[in-house]
């Protein structure tokens, strides 16, 4: 009796006859401690959403949460230092989300405010977090004035910086002219505090002196850079750092 010949079908060959590897399998090299540290630096443990949120709420807080106390303090110093320098150079105008238009009466339809350059510039600054948002809201609601204007031939109210010859009515936010616009001579106006008419003095001043030219550019650059650096810190806290369980972490 002759043995049945084995048919090696191409599709089943791998099941019956294991093919030999052309080259012998190499054993993986053993990793040194240095390599392992480098690999851990490259591949973080996991995404840290709480650290990301905290880093946005206050610069450095994400790293503080991860146990990296010294890094947290230094990040806060760098980001908030830049932000403070912006306010110091350009004043509160350094954080400005732009001029807003609103209907002149409550019965008028809403107005879509045209996007201007200031609105684009504020995007970078907003990454500083609630501090920047609070300063912008303070600027919009306590320092800007409401004045009558026109948009596309339609009467509107515009929220804008006060001019040097205007003061702000604290109750309504409306602009009140207290000087001649060209000569700067005092004029009679109705004092919103007392309700009486009187001539203006130097104490009647706009809520803030608007920043213009180079100082406006430098101030905006400072605050925008603060936001961009905090964005880097947020990414680092969320993806780039492992949570430290080392009691000596406060030194790192």
């Amino acid at each position: 009796m002759t043995p049945t010949p084995t048919v090696n079908h191409p599709a089943t060959t791998f099941l019956t006859t294991p093919t030999a590897s052309p080259t012998p399998r190499r054993t993986p090299p053993t990793m040194t401690t240095l390599d392992q540290n480098a690999a851990e630096d490259l591949f973080p443990e996991r995404f840290q959403p709480v650290a990301l949120l905290l880093a946005f709420l206050l610069p450095g807080l994400g790293h503080w949460y991860l146990g990296l106390r010294r890094r947290a303090r230094l990040i806060a110093l760098g980001v908030l230092g830049l932000f403070a320098c912006g306010l110091l150079t350009a004043g509160i105008d350094a954080v400005d989300s732009g001029q807003f238009y609103m209907p002149a009466s409550t019965t008028s339809p809403p107005i879509i405010t045209p996007v201007d350059r200031e609105m684009v510039g504020i995007i970078g600054t907003l990454f500083v977090g609630p501090v920047a948002i609070a300063v912008d809201q303070l600027h919009q609601r306590r320092f800007k004035v409401l004045a009558e204007s026109y948009l596309g031939g339609r009467p509107v109210l515009i929220r804008r910086n006060a001019k040097p010859f205007e003061i702000r009515d604290p109750a309504t936010g409306l602009a009140i002219a207290v000087r001649e616009p060209i000569t700067g001579n005092p004029i009679e106006f109705k004092d919103p505090a007392t309700g009486t008419k009187r001539l203006s003095t130097l104490a009647d001043r706009p809520p803030n002196v608007p920043s213009l030219g180079r100082m406006r550019e430098i101030g905006g650059l400072f605050t925008c850079l603060a936001g961009m650096l905090n964005l880097i810190a947020m990414v680092d806290a969320a993806w780039g750092r492992k949570r430290s369980t080392d009691p000596d972490a406060r030194r790192r």
């Binding site: 230094l74 760098g78 100082m215 880097i232 810190a233």
Partner: protein, 80 residues
Amino acid sequence: MHFSYRPFIDALSMHGTWYIWIVPMAFFIAVAYKAVRSKKLDHYWREVLVMTIQTLLGMAALAAALWLLAEVFVKSWMNA
């Protein structure tokens, strides 16, 4: 009209010497950047100082190159 200056509210009047602010700008950028990127903080302040100086020298070199381009080359091309 000259109103008294109130810090953090009014703008500074330093239009002629605005470039002085590049120094604190470079310093605070280095403080935040090195706090994130340095593997160890053993020589942190030295690294911050080096990065600040590098940034200032780089900006000075860029300013010099742009001055050469605008004042020397472009003007000579326009006169030619």
